[in-house]
Subunit: 473 residues, 2 copies
Amino acid sequence: MALKRYQRYAEELTALIRGGQLAPGTRLPSVREASRARRISPATAFEAYYLLQARGLIESRPRSGFFVRAMVKPAPARGGSAPPRSRHVEVSDLVFEVLEATRRAGIAPLGSAFPAAELFPLRQLARALSIGMRRLDPTRIVEDLPPGNERLRKQIALRYALSGTRVSPDEIILTNGAMEALTLSLQAVTQPGDAVVVESPCFYAALQALERLRLKAVEIPCDARHGIDFAALCTALQRPDVKACWLMPAFQNPTGTSMSEAHRRDFMRELQRHGVPLIEDDVYAELYYGARPLRPLKSFDTSGLVMHCGSFSKCLAPGYRIGWVAGGLRAPEILRAKMMTTLSNAVPSQQALAEYLAHGGYERHLRRLRRVLARQHDIAARLAARHFPAGTRFSSPEGGYFLWVEFPEGVDTLQLHRQALEHDINIAPGQIFSATRKFGNCMRLNFGHPRDPRFEPAIRTIGELAAAALRTR
Amino acid sequence: MALKRYQRYAEELTALIRGGQLAPGTRLPSVREASRARRISPATAFEAYYLLQARGLIESRPRSGFFVRAMVKPAPARGGSAPPRSRHVEVSDLVFEVLEATRRAGIAPLGSAFPAAELFPLRQLARALSIGMRRLDPTRIVEDLPPGNERLRKQIALRYALSGTRVSPDEIILTNGAMEALTLSLQAVTQPGDAVVVESPCFYAALQALERLRLKAVEIPCDARHGIDFAALCTALQRPDVKACWLMPAFQNPTGTSMSEAHRRDFMRELQRHGVPLIEDDVYAELYYGARPLRPLKSFDTSGLVMHCGSFSKCLAPGYRIGWVAGGLRAPEILRAKMMTTLSNAVPSQQALAEYLAHGGYERHLRRLRRVLARQHDIAARLAARHFPAGTRFSSPEGGYFLWVEFPEGVDTLQLHRQALEHDINIAPGQIFSATRKFGNCMRLNFGHPRDPRFEPAIRTIGELAAAALRTR
């Protein structure tokens, strides 16, 4: 097929950039210059640049023009166990590359962040949505403005009570998923340049939020066997530039590990001693395999330092985008920030969940979901043990749907990610979970798709690719 | 009713702060100190401080403790027509005070930012919502991830085509209302400390966004008679620290004025000459009274500089929280920022609007809505002329549902706002629309509640209060 004019121009530039003739930082001709020189319309030149931007090859800088971007750098050697240093974060390019792959139709979703949609009571939710919207008095839509629907906030406070945590509905602010709760909380307690303690590996969205807010990450090691390095965590609080911690003490993403109850108590005491606020990302709280939920750090907090973030996206209603934060002392600031950024949550989603939680058999759904995930975990652990090369270690989560896999040194999971894509398998390479490109031999494995027949063959293929990598090194 | 312990402590502190014994900036005892000194539990002391925070009397500073806040300052004398200066913005306290009042049940909503809910086809939307959710293949929820539902983006692109604007669906990113679109666009082109050109008076949420992102506002005068000062606007582009403009060229909030088509063309040329990006806030675009829509500045843009922001909140589906930005050259950065902050829009809202726009009689609804608002405008203008004091000027909007009222000097609309509240009337005083507390004699009047019997009596009461203020000055 013949290329259009703008595509031709874009392809020529792409070749020059990829070939290195146009080095990173080079300024491209302006739209006007290009249009004059090539006798194309400005709109055509603009479309070419638009395409190159979308490909991540160039960037526009306000009032200066278009510049060739720096390419994704190769991974540095693994960091070993040097003491945690803080750095500005730049992980997004890689994350977006990986996320994009999860959206390809027909791909085995082992790198996905979501469990299978069929695990959720979507039909009951849709019914609750219809009922809620029918009952809604249109003149009272304002009541769903921040902090959000009161019935729903009361239901959330009730669930806190079940885990022994005293949270008032007034302290709860509904957000567009936990992601917004986390970002607003972070903004409430930090300024650009501050340092924030995070786990390493760490949920990539946390790293992206730090990058975006120009914060430094103090990475505390966390491994498949022992979870977070507790001594290093406590030591980090002494740094005067540390203005917050952002942790997932339950079924951490990506490692699946949890902090023990004794450590929770001790750490909360340390936080209070140093006056450091904690953003407790607890979106997997309901997905425990055991008899009882873990007690959130929030439940030990007597100073209002903990901003506890939750969500229905992983346990009930993916796509409804209802998360929340129980903001403690920072609730008023978070509420204002919410009103200043996205104003309000979608009313249909709020009404649906308020209705469902009041009548919908949430407990029954959760019991079933926990049972399914626990069984899936056993299957995944057995398959990993069977198919992955000798010397591979993996975590033993007690909740959630992620396994953290540490292959022997010599397996490059970014390479593995690209090879697996050719077999229509998506994995999440370890590097996306670090601001410093660590974990080059690790991956996060999603086992939350019980009915997917591709799961076992995919595990086998990954094992073969990893074994081949070890043989040829 | 007997006060609880924490309430007693909070009331004592409130009295001391209000009485001035605890001056702004004073550090309060820590939770620990207070608990020891008053023999109350730390949780009780914490609750007292929480209450004081919610009242806006104290603030917590990370790692330092609790401090008495500075009170809302009285209005300075009006600025006259000095050349625009830029300043850091602090308008939120006042805005939140006014917004809070709009949520009181039973209040006449003349200060509201929303038109009446009964103007919208809420039942048809609810039906579209049910149909959309029933049809949704749960395994394809990922397709509603950013940039958002493709059917809906195509419908939006079609509407652009109607106003003569070429926008590709690929350039459109769905957001949680226009507010998020505006914030993301602003973040895509500015750094803290940069200056942004805005109208003055200006939609307060724009000022809040600048405040939050630590940007400076360059305020360009805009009055009820002549709209924006076009010469001053073009001059401002020469400032090297100006990194963006944020304007509402159609039915501006709060003045209701619009930029002429000739000025649009000229201004777009100026923007291109200086390479300054424009955030075109066009949320009232569909609410024109005339025969045809205004052509957005975006339609004259050949360099991709315009980020055009729209929304369904004001013309179709309040509470659904579906806005968008057609991001031009910045679309890729805005898309990433969206994924990093709130991830995705609510799927039910996206499905409902995609379904409604495809089948729902949107054009018919809009024609009716425009007719109702045009008629309401005539009524409002007639009532204002009859009941407001001689010398009062007001704008002649050609779309939307706001009238900008400039009372004679001597009417203090902040005072008027507080008096009106005693009569269960809410108005939007001029000061909330300025970073520098200008417009002390102005107010924005919402006439978008055609069935509200309180409208005429409210106008009369406001007129009487204003007249009384003029007599006693």
